[in-house]
């Protein structure tokens, strides 16, 4: 799997920590705001907002929080909104398993990653046991 790169020519729109559950709400509303700014339709806005809400909650529940990077960039000629979630949590031992439909960690996130992946145009994940997880999702019009 390719490493998630932080060396991009993307415009940073903000970097925020997820510490409390209020942050989940606040930052997903910010993501919606940026999706609106990017003139995405209401369904697209809802998809990206819901996707990041799932990711933020994963960080909050399993990794004691993390950081969210919101960026805007050109992906294959498209104007994309890019949200990267970075945590220093326990990591995901078997990524392939975690990405397979119907998988549940047993802690109540059965739709988790595959469901989130369906809501976005691009989904990248990188995880190392005991080091943490990085998930990057992209959405364009």
């Amino acid at each position: 799997m390719n490493e998630i790169s932080f060396d991009n020519n993307w415009e940073q729109l903000g970097k925020y920590p997820i510490v409390t559950e209020h942050d989940i709400v606040k930052i997903r509303q910010l993501v919606r705001h940026h999706a609106k700014e990017a003139r995405m339709g209401i369904v697209e806005q809802t998809r990206i907002t819901t996707a990041v809400s799932e990711l933020f909650r994963n960080m909050f529940n399993y990794a004691e929080g993390g950081d969210v990077l919101i960026e805007r960039g050109n992906i294959d000629g498209k104007n994309a909104l890019i949200v990267t979630c970075i945590d220093q949590g326990p990591g995901i031992e078997d990524l392939e398993l975690a990405m397979s439909d119907g998988y549940t960690s047993g802690m109540g996130m059965g739709y988790g990653l595959p469901g989130t992946k369906r809501l976005v145009d691009r989904f990248e994940i990188q995880s190392e046991k005991d080091k943490g997880t990085i998930v990057r999702v992209m959405k364009w019009r």
Binding site: R32, T46, G115, R118
Partner: protein
């Protein structure tokens, strides 16, 4: 962006046999859980036979809120009350299905009026049994 997230309780209104709850804020997890127990307490206190939950202003329902709603429907059913979710936005419905979230036991209606009709019908069937 300044968002007011202070712990305001979501009001529950009783009209005849029904409780009406209109969710007007983007709920964080604790608020959602609090609403769940608030509604169950109100069912117990009032003996309401039905609960209408209006989510027409909710711009998104993620798996947590979805699970909260279906959990509430099952709990209310045990307490002999039916739950109808009213006014889900099309974009929310699309996203929920794509996410893969199923909400077993949750009845939905397009709007409040249809939701009340649904509950009244159920109640009259119930009374003639």
């Amino acid at each position: 962006m300044n968002i007011d997230l202070h712990e305001k309780k979501i009001p529950i209104i009783k009209i005849r046999d029904f409780l009406i709850v209109s969710i007007q804020v983007d709920m964080h997890d604790k608020l959602a859980i609090q609403l769940q127990s608030q509604i169950l307490e109100e069912i117990e206190k009032t003996g309401a036979k039905g609960v209408l939950i209006d989510i027409s202003v909710l711009e998104m329902v993620d798996s947590f809120i979805g699970r909260m709603l279906s959990g509430m429907a099952s709990m209310a059913a045990i307490m002999d009350a039916a739950v109808v979710i009213v006014g889900m936005q099309p974009s929310v419905a699309i996203t929920l299905v794509e996410l893969g979230l199923e909400m077993p036991g949750v009845d939905t209606a397009l709007n409040m009026e249809k939701g009340i009709e649904m509950l009244e019908e159920r109640l009259s069937n119930y009374n003639t049994l």
